[in-house]
């Protein structure tokens, strides 16, 4: 039934980290800073508070480099591709064998313990992924176990917003669909952005119209957009607010690689980072659980 689940399940038992090393030895400054942030009393014996356990495994701003095993990244990438691109930590279960003291260096091994079937939550639908990390010191003395569960999900974004911000029933404006452009919106629903191609002169055109402005040709077929493009112009909406939207937000006029233009929201960057010329990639977003719109993800650049 759920082919994706079958593929995800194959990752159970595979390592997420092998003999990874903590970036820093257990140390007093990090302990004190952590206590300061938490309002936690500083242990009088200089030891690290137990609930710091995970901190010693964190890779920080520098990233995890090669320490993480490929399987976990593959699993996350698979979920990203399937639309479950958002992540939230849901559970943390720690068992402590003994306290850690300054000077001790930890190593850790992590395993993908389980992947859930597809679940629907208030945030959206997706999969819970549980990893277990064993933290050791010295020659392999186990000092703690850390089980971590995340939800990788496709946000029920608008529904969630409607619950907290918009009045009930606030919905996005619907596209205007008629006999001349129904095929375009049908394509969007199927995650294909179809560009009309004139049967006379071959010119590509958007938005859809029954005839060609260049040659007047009335025959046409379609070609799907490859997905690449760049921001041609954009605006940031501030006022007035509309119930289904949450200003400020960016709307871009994107010029596709094929040379035609289409409007859409820019995702993946804050609205103030959108710029003319920024490369973007076409994606599709489900709105109000009812219809699909093209959106554009800002590409790394």
């Amino acid at each position: 039934m759920d082919e994706l689940y079958d593929r995800l399940k194959a990752y159970e038992g595979r390592p997420a980290a092998i003999a990874a090393e903590g970036k820093d030895p257990v140390n007093s400054p990090m302990i004190r800073h952590w206590c300061e942030a938490m309002g936690h009393p500083v242990p009088e014996d200089g030891s690290a508070p137990a609930t710091m356990l995970q901190v010693w495994t964190m890779s920080g701003l520098a990233g995890h480099g090669a320490a993480r095993a490929g399987a976990y990244d593959e699993l996350l990438a698979l979920l990203d591709e399937s639309g479950c691109a958002s992540v939230v930590a849901t559970d943390c279960e720690q068992e402590y064998v003994r306290v850690l003291r300054p000077g001790e260096r930890i190593t850790f091994d992590a395993v993908i313990e389980s992947v859930s079937t597809r679940k629907t939550t208030a945030l959206g639908t997706g999969y819970f992924v549980t990893t277990r990390t064993d933290i050791r010191v010295g020659g392999g003395e186990l000092v703690g176990t850390h089980r971590f569960r995340i939800l990788k999900y496709e946000p029920a974004e608008r529904q969630a917003k409607a619950a907290t911000k918009a009045p009930p029933g606030a919905r996005r404006p619907r596209p205007v669909v008629n006999r001349d452009n129904a095929g375009y919106w049908q394509g969007i629903e199927e995650h294909r952005l179809l560009i009309q191609r004139c049967g006379g002169c071959g010119a590509l055109r958007l938005p859809w119209l029954p005839g060609c402005n260049g040659c007047g040709g009335q025959e046409w077929d379609t070609v799907p957009a490859a997905g690449g493009g760049a921001v041609f112009s954009y605006v940031v909406m501030h006022h007035p607010p509309f119930p289904a939207f949450d200003p400020p937000y960016a709307v871009a006029l994107v010029e596709l690689a094929e040379g035609v233009r289409v409007l859409g929201n820019v995702i993946g960057v804050p609205y103030e980072k959108v710029r003319v010329g920024m490369p973007v990639a076409l994606e599709f977003q489900r709105v109000d659980g009812e219809f699909t719109v093209p959106v554009f993800r800002a590409e790394e650049g």
Partner: protein, 396 residues
């Protein structure tokens, strides 16, 4: 008018009367009542009686039908009634329609009018979230799901591209707002009478749709404005010196959309090709050029399009509109524009052009003989070249 050759309308009709209600934020009366008051005021200004009127022209967007205005204004039989589409783009075209009717003898006295409670009633700035599945609805509707829902947002797409293309920042738009408000400050009929602004005020005003700030967007107004058009010959016998229609033109560009012309040729987004169509016709029919213009009344619902209009009419080069305005090289929007005086869908600007030719403007340009007026920018539009009687330009 014709795209390819000069037309024969120039010089045959004139605006003989202007009339308006007060401009307010809440008129306290119906749109029909406003239309009737404005029409009757314009007829009286011309020194005519309602019984002299045999034609009425308005906008398709107006809610007061010609026949109902006629009924309530004391006007009898009509031989000509017409409406022009595309919002503010209709303004100058109502006069063109009237002039054509007069020139061909279809009607003798035609009143053009526009009246609405745009501030206290249906506010255009509130945006649209739904359109019917007509061709017109579908063309605009493709832009709605992304949340581009207001006139300001549609104009901002072009404005952003304009800034990008010419390596400018949004302060160039501020020059337009400052100039308009400077004129409005001296106009007792203007909403912003006595309230000039500075570039700093513009820069400090809040974002509406980046790159447009509050002070880049025109105000919202309740009110009515009417204009009486008759033959130039008859106008000479009426109460005021005629404002002769030296040329009148409509224009739509190739692959034009109503307000969302995002999909035409790339360079078109930083220009107003439809205004170029208007400009070509006005210059050709009148035999005049930009150097002959004493005053311009440029449609200013949003400041960026004023710059593009100056460029389209050849007052300055592409991308130079901001500098041109900053240097104060052409008196424009001497009533305060729609940013400063009132937003009457461009009709109040035509009245100001008439006042300049009569020598009655509060910001009078001495000896003004040729006034350019434009209608809605960024939409299928229209324009007028009005002249003082006897100031017939190159071909006169």
């Amino acid at each position: 008018m014709s795209l390819r050759s000069a037309d024969r309308l120039g010089g045959r009709a004139a605006i003989a009367g202007i009339g308006a209600t007060e401009f307010s934020k809440d008129s306290g009366r119906s749109e029909l009542k406003l239309a009737v008051e404005a029409v009757r005021a314009a007829i009286a200004d011309a020194g005519l009686r309602p019984a002299d009127v045999d034609g009425l022209v308005t906008f398709t967007m107006d809610t007061s039908p010609e026949i109902t205005v006629a009924q309530a204004a004391g006007i009898g039989e009509l031989s000509f009634f017409s409406r022009v589409h595309y919002g503010g783009g209709a303004a100058c075209a109502t006069v063109q329609q009237a002039a054509m009717a007069v020139a061909t003898g279809v009607a003798e006295v035609v009143v053009c009018y526009r009246a609405f409670n745009e501030r206290s009633g249906r506010r255009f700035g509130a945006g649209v979230q739904h359109r019917e599945p007509s061709a017109e609805g579908a063309a605009l509707g493709v832009n709605l799901p992304a949340g581009l829902l207001t006139p300001a947002s549609w104009v901002a797409v072009a404005a952003q591209r304009y800034l990008h293309a010419y390596h400018l920042d949004a302060t160039v738009f501020g020059h337009v707002a400052v100039a308009d408000r400077r004129h409005a400050a001296r106009n007792p009929a203007a909403y912003f009478y006595g309230k000039p602004i500075t570039l700093a005020d513009h820069a400090a005003s809040r974002w509406i749709v980046e790159p447009l700030r509050l002070l880049d967007c025109c105000q919202e107004t309740d009110g009515g404005q009417a204009l009486v058009v008759t033959s130039a010959e008859r106008a000479r016998d009426l109460a005021h010196a005629p404002a002769v229609v030296r040329a009148a033109a409509q224009g739509a560009g190739r692959r034009q959309e109503q307000m969302t012309s995002f999909y035409r040729d790339a360079d078109d987004l930083v220009m107003l090709p439809e205004m170029g169509v208007v400009a070509r016709q006005l210059w050709r029919t009148s035999g005049l050029g930009s150097a002959d213009i004493d005053v311009a009344v440029l449609y200013d619902h949003f400041t960026p399009y004023v710059l593009m209009q100056l460029e389209e009419f050849g007052f300055c080069g592409r991308g130079e509109g901001g500098a041109f305005v900053a240097e104060d090289r052409l008196p424009f929007n001497t009533h305060g524009g729609q940013l400063g005086e009132a937003y009457l869908h461009g009709m109040n600007g035509i009245a100001e052009a008439v006042r300049q030719l009569r020598g009655e403007s509060v910001n009078q340009v001495p000896g003004a003989a040729h006034v350019l007026v434009t209608a809605g920018a960024g939409v299928p539009t229209s324009g007028l070249l009005l002249g003082a009687d006897g100031a017939d330009g190159a071909d006169g």
